[in-house]
C-alpha cells in the first residue's frame, strides 16, 4: 500500500486530502470539524478523520505534502515590507509575529501535530498545487492550465502546460505579486461593503443589477496590457503593505465613498417605496460591481487567449479562487478560445490539499494518470443506526422513509414535500469537498415561484434579499432550459458556470433566475449522485419542471452543516419545514 496526504493550511481554507494506491479516498476542509468558516489552522482534525476513513495511521503515510513553499512566501512578504518603507511599518510587527511564531516552522509544525517523521514531508508550490488540482482531476491530458487567485508565493496568475507523460505539468509563464486579479476583486469586495474571502459571490450577484457605467474608471485600476496580461495601478491599492486595508483614499476619490457594510441594497426598479437617495446610492454600487465584474471577465479572456497562443491544446483547466467566478467562467466558455473548460469544484485554496497530493503521487512518485475524478462527495458521512439513536434521544418525530418505502419511495416523498411548497433540509451521504453544496448538504425548495426566493433568503438563510439562488437541474434537460456554451458542460456539473435561462422558460423557474436572466446551474447526472437525481426526476414528473432550488445547508456565517446533530440544530433554528437525514424524515416537535 502507498499513501500520500495533501495539506493546505495557514492562509485560507485549510483542508486535508488522502490518496491511497492512486485513489482519492478522502478530502475535507477543516472548517467542517471546527465550525469556523474558512478555518485556516493546521487541519489536524481533517487529517485524523482522513486517516481513520482509510483505516491507516500516520506511520503508513509515505509522504505528507504541504501545498506551498513557505520560505519562498516569506521572502516575498519581506521583500514587499522593505519596498514599502516607511509605510510598511504598520504591518511589520503583526507579520513578523505570525511568521516567526508559526509559519516559518511549517515542517516542524506538521511533523509534530500530525505525528509523522519530518523527512517524509514534501512541499509543492501554491500555483502548482492549484494547477495539479485541476489538470490531474480532469479527463484531459494535453491541456493549458491557468491558475488565478490572490497570491501564492510570488505568482498571482500562472500558466502551465499539461501533458500525457511525466512530468505532466510544466511552468510556462506567470504574473507576479502585487498584480493580482484575485486581490483586485477582493479589494473591490471590501469597497462594496462585503467581507473579503466571503463576499465575492455577493459582488457577482450585485453586478447583475447594474450596468458597467464605471468601466473607464475601473480600467484605470486594472490595466490590460494588450499582450494577454494585466497590471494594477498600485496608487489605488495598499493590500501589499497595509495590515487592514486593501484600497487607498485615491480609489475613494475616483469612485466615491465606499458602501457601508450592512446598508440595504435597493437598486432601481426593486422597491418603489424606497427613499430616492438610497436607490441612487445602491444603483451606483451596482454599476461599480458590474464594471468590476466586466473588467475581470475581459482580463480572464485575455489570459486565456495568451494561454491558447502559447499552448496548442483544445482544453483549458482553470483553478484558483478566481475560477469560482461562475459568471466569468461562462463568458470565457462562450468565447470559443478552447473547446473544453475544466474546473475542479474545490478551485480555491481548500483544493490545494488535493492538488498537492495528486502532484506528489503523479509528478514526484511517477505514477501514471488515471481517468480523472468526477465525484466530489469525499467528506464525512454517518451511519444510519447512530442517526436513528440520535433522533430518538432528541425525541423528535421521525420516520424511516428509506426503510419503509425504498429508494423510489424516498424520492417520491421528497418531491411531494417540495411540490407542496415545503422547504427541506437535505443531508445525504458524504459531504462535498469545496465551497458548493451539490446535493449532499443542501437546502432544497420548489424553484417555480419568486416568492420562494424571498422566503428562503429572509426566513431560512437570513441573508440579503438581492442574492440569487441556484437550481440543480437534470443534465439531460439542461439545454431545453438554458443557453449553455458547449465548453461549459463540465463546469456546469459543479455549479461553476452561469448561463442565461431561455427567455420563454424564466417564468417557470422564477426563484432560480437572477435579475439579468442568468442562473448558476448544477447539471445533475445519475452517475454523479443517483439519489439526488431520482429526487429531481420525481419532482419533474410531478411538476414538469426538472429542477429544484439548491442552496447550501447552513445559516449565514456558519460553514455547511457536517453532522446530523448540526443538521437538526439548523433545522430547528430556522423556518425549514422538514429535514431529511440519510433517508429519515424529521419533523418538528414542541418544546
Amino acid at each position: 500500500m502507498a499513501a500520500v496526504l495533501g495539506i493546505s493550511a495557514l492562509y485560507h481554507d485549510a483542508a486535508a486530502a488522502l490518496i491511497v494506491d492512486g485513489e482519492v479516498v478522502a478530502a475535507i476542509q477543516e472548517e467542517r470539524f471546527t465550525r469556523i468558516k474558512h478555518d485556516p489552522s493546521l487541519p489536524v482534525r481533517a487529517t485524523r478523520w482522513c486517516l481513520a476513513q482509510a483505516g491507516i495511521g500516520p506511520d503508513d503515510l509515505d509522504h505528507v505534502v504541504f501545498y506551498e513553499k513557505p520560505l519562498r512566501k516569506f521572502e516575498r512578504i519581506l521583500h514587499h515590507t522593505v519596498a514599502a518603507f516607511p509605510r510598511g511599518i504598520r504591518g511589520f510587527p503583526r507579520t513578523m509575529r505570525v511568521w516567526l511564531g508559526d509559519k516559518l516552522w511549517t515542517r516542524t509544525l506538521l511533523a509534530r501535530e500530525l505525528r509523522i517523521p519530518a523527512d517524509r514531508i514534501l512541499f509543492s508550490e501554491h500555483h502548482l498545487s492549484h494547477a495539479a488540482s485541476a489538470l490531474l482531476c480532469s479527463p484531459h491530458r494535453d491541456a493549458a492550465v491557468l491558475t488565478i487567485d490572490g497570491v501564492g508565493e510570488h505568482a498571482t496568475t500562472a500558466l502551465w502546460r499539461g501533458s500525457a507523460a511525466a512530468p505532466f505539468i510544466e511552468p510556462v509563464a506567470e504574473i507576479p505579486f502585487p498584480h493580482s486579479l484575485g486581490l483586485f476583486y477582493s479589494a473591490m469586495t471590501a469597497y462594496l461593503g462585503f467581507a473579503v474571502n466571503e463576499g465575492e459571490y455577493k459582488v457577482m450577484g450585485m453586478a447583475a443589477y447594474g450596468q458597467p457605467r464605471y468601466r473607464d474608471r475601473i480600467d484605470r485600476l486594472l490595466r490590460r496590457d494588450g499582450r494577454g496580461g494585466y497590471e494594477l495601478d498600485l496608487d489605488y491599492f495598499c493590500f501589499h503593505w497595509h495590515p487592514d486595508r486593501s484600497y487607498t483614499d485615491k480609489l475613494v476619490d475616483l469612485l466615491g465613498p465606499p458602501r457601508f457594510p450592512g446598508t440595504p441594497f435597493v437598486p432601481e426598479g426593486v422597491d418603489p417605496d424606497a427613499p430616492a437617495d438610497l436607490v441612487a446610492d445602491s444603483q451606483r454600487y451596482a454599476d461599480i460591481a458590474a464594471s468590476v465584474q466586466a473588467a475581470l471577465e475581459d482580463a480572464v479572456v485575455d489570459l486565456a487567449r495568451y494561454a491558447r497562443q502559447r499552448i496548442d491544446a483544445p482544453a483549458l483547466c482553470l483553478a484558483g479562487g478566481v475560477a469560482l467566478n461562475s459568471v466569468a467562467n461562462h463568458r470565457l466558455a462562450g468565447e470559443g478560445i478552447f473547446d473544453h473548460l475544466w474546473i475542479q469544484p474545490a478551485a480555491g485554496d481548500a483544493g490545494g490539499a488535493l492538488g498537492a497530493a495528486l502532484w506528489a503521487w503523479h509528478c514526484v512518485l511517477g505514477h501514471d494518470r488515471g481517468p480523472g475524478l468526477v465525484r466530489y462527495d469525499l467528506g464525512r458521512d454517518f451511519d444510519r443506526p447512530g442517526t436513528a439513536e440520535l433522533l430518538g434521544d432528541l425525541q423528535l418525530p421521525f420516520e424511516d422513509v428509506l426503510e419503509d418505502a425504498s429508494e423510489s419511495g424516498l424520492a417520491e416523498r421528497v418531491a411531494e414535500d417540495l411540490a407542496e411548497g415545503r422547504v427541506i433540509g437535505w443531508f445525504d451521504g458524504r459531504c462535498e469537498y469545496g465551497p458548493r453544496a451539490l446535493g449532499h448538504r443542501s437546502i432544497l425548495a420548489d424553484p417555480r415561484s419568486a416568492a420562494m426566493k424571498d422566503r428562503v433568503n429572509a426566513r431560512i438563510k437570513y441573508r440579503e434579499r438581492f442574492r440569487p439562488f441556484a437550481p440543480s437541474i437534470l443534465d439531460a434537460q439542461l439545454d431545453e432550459w438554458v443557453e449553455l456554451a458547449p465548453a461549459a458542460r463540465d463546469p456546469a456539473r459543479y455549479m461553476l458556470a452561469t448561463p442565461t435561462v431561455r427567455a420563454d422558460r424564466r417564468q417557470q423557474a422564477a426563484a432560480v433566475v437572477h435579475v439579468d436572466g442568468s442562473s448558476r446551474v448544477q447539471a445533475v447526472r445519475a452517475e454523479d449522485h443517483p439519489r439526488y437525481h431520482a429526487v429531481i426526476s420525481a419532482f419533474a414528473a410531478r411538476t414538469g419542471v426538472p429542477m429544484v432550488l439548491n442552496t447550501s445547508f447552513n445559516l449565514k456565517g456558519d460553514p455547511m452543516v457536517s453532522s446530523p446533530a448540526q443538521a437538526v440544530a439548523t433545522f430547528l433554528g430556522t423556518d425549514l419545514d422538514a429535514l431529511y437525514v440519510d433517508g429519515f424524515r424529521v419533523g418538528r416537535s414542541k418544546r
Binding site: I36, P167, R227, P261
Partner: protein, 248 residues
C-alpha cells in the same frame, strides 16, 4: 465577593459601553460568544454519554444560536459600522479571543466539568446582563433584548445546577467541587494569558518597529516592486525529488 464582582462589572461596563462605538463592539462580541457556545453545546450533544441530556443540550444550543442572531440584529440596528459580519468570518479573531479553542470544550473537559463550566459561565453572564440593565447602560431596545435573553440563561443555569446536584447526591461531591474550582481557575488563568499576550504584543511591537527602522531602511533601495504582465518561466533546474523537499 458578589459585591466586589458587581462593582467591577459596573466599572468595566461603564467604560465598555461609553468608549467609541462601544455598544456595537459589545453586541458584536456577545454575538460571537453566543455563537461559539452554541457550537460547543452541539459538540457536547454529539459526544455525551448521557443520552438523557441530549435533548436539553439541543435546546440549549438553539437558545445560544438565537441569542447570537438577536445580538447581531442589535449590531445592525445600532447602525454604526457592522464589523460583526466581517468578524464572523474572520477565523483569526474567533481563535484569538479564545471563543473557540482547538477542540470542543466537551472534549477537553468531559461531562461533569462541562456542566460545571456551563453553570459558572452562564451565571456570570446573567449577572453581567443584570448589572448592565439595572444601571441603564444600554439603550432601551438592547435592555429589552438582554432581559429576554436572561430568561433563557436562567434555564441554562438551572439545568446545569440540577445535574451537578445529581452528581453530588450520587456521592461525587468532591469531583463537583474540583470541577468548579478548575473552571474558575481556568478563567482566571485565561484572563491572565490574554492580558500577558496583549502586553507581549505591545512590547514586541516597539522592538519590531525599531528593527524595521534600523535594519530594513538600508535595504530599501534594493527592493523594487515589479511591473505586471506575463513573464516566461522555466522549469526548476533541481531534480524533482530535491525540489519537492525544499521549502524554498
Amino acid at each position: 465577593m458578589g459585591i466586589i464582582r458587581r462593582t467591577w462589572i459596573r466599572l468595566a461596563g461603564a467604560w465598555a459601553w461609553r468608549r467609541p462605538n462601544g455598544p456595537v463592539r459589545l453586541m458584536a462580541a456577545f454575538s460571537q460568544a453566543e455563537r461559539g457556545s452554541s457550537y460547543d453545546v452541539i459538540a457536547a450533544l454529539e459526544r455525551t454519554e448521557r443520552r438523557d441530556l441530549r435533548r436539553t443540550y439541543l435546546f440549549h444550543a438553539l437558545d445560544e444560536s438565537r441569542h447570537a442572531r438577536i445580538f447581531r440584529r442589535r449590531v445592525q440596528a445600532l447602525g454604526r459600522q457592522d464589523r460583526a459580519e466581517a468578524a464572523l468570518v474572520d477565523a483569526g479573531s474567533l481563535r484569538a479571543t479564545g471563543i473557540i479553542g482547538e477542540a470542543p470544550l466537551f472534549e477537553q473537559m468531559g461531562e461533569l466539568e462541562f456542566l460545571a463550566f456551563v453553570y459558572v459561565v452562564e451565571s456570570l453572564a446573567l449577572e453581567q446582563f443584570q448589572v448592565y440593565c439595572d444601571h441603564g447602560m444600554p439603550d432601551p431596545d438592547t435592555i429589552a433584548a438582554l432581559r429576554a435573553i436572561a430568561d433563557d440563561e436562567k434555564f441554562h443555569i438551572s439545568y446545569s445546577r440540577r445535574e451537578l446536584e445529581k452528581y453530588r447526591a450520587a456521592g461525587r461531591g468532591a469531583e463537583v467541587r474540583a470541577a468548579l474550582f478548575r473552571v474558575r481557575a481556568r478563567r482566571i488563568w485565561q484572563a491572565w494569558l490574554r492580558l500577558s499576550r496583549r502586553l507581549g504584543d505591545a512590547v514586541s511591537t516597539l522592538w519590531l518597529w525599531a528593527l524595521y527602522l534600523v535594519c530594513v531602511a538600508p535595504f530599501r533601495p534594493l527592493a523594487r516592486v515589479e511591473g505586471g504582465g506575463w513573464r516566461t518561466r522555466d522549469a526548476d533546474p533541481r531534480p524533482i525529488a530535491e525540489f519537492a523537499r525544499a521549502q524554498a
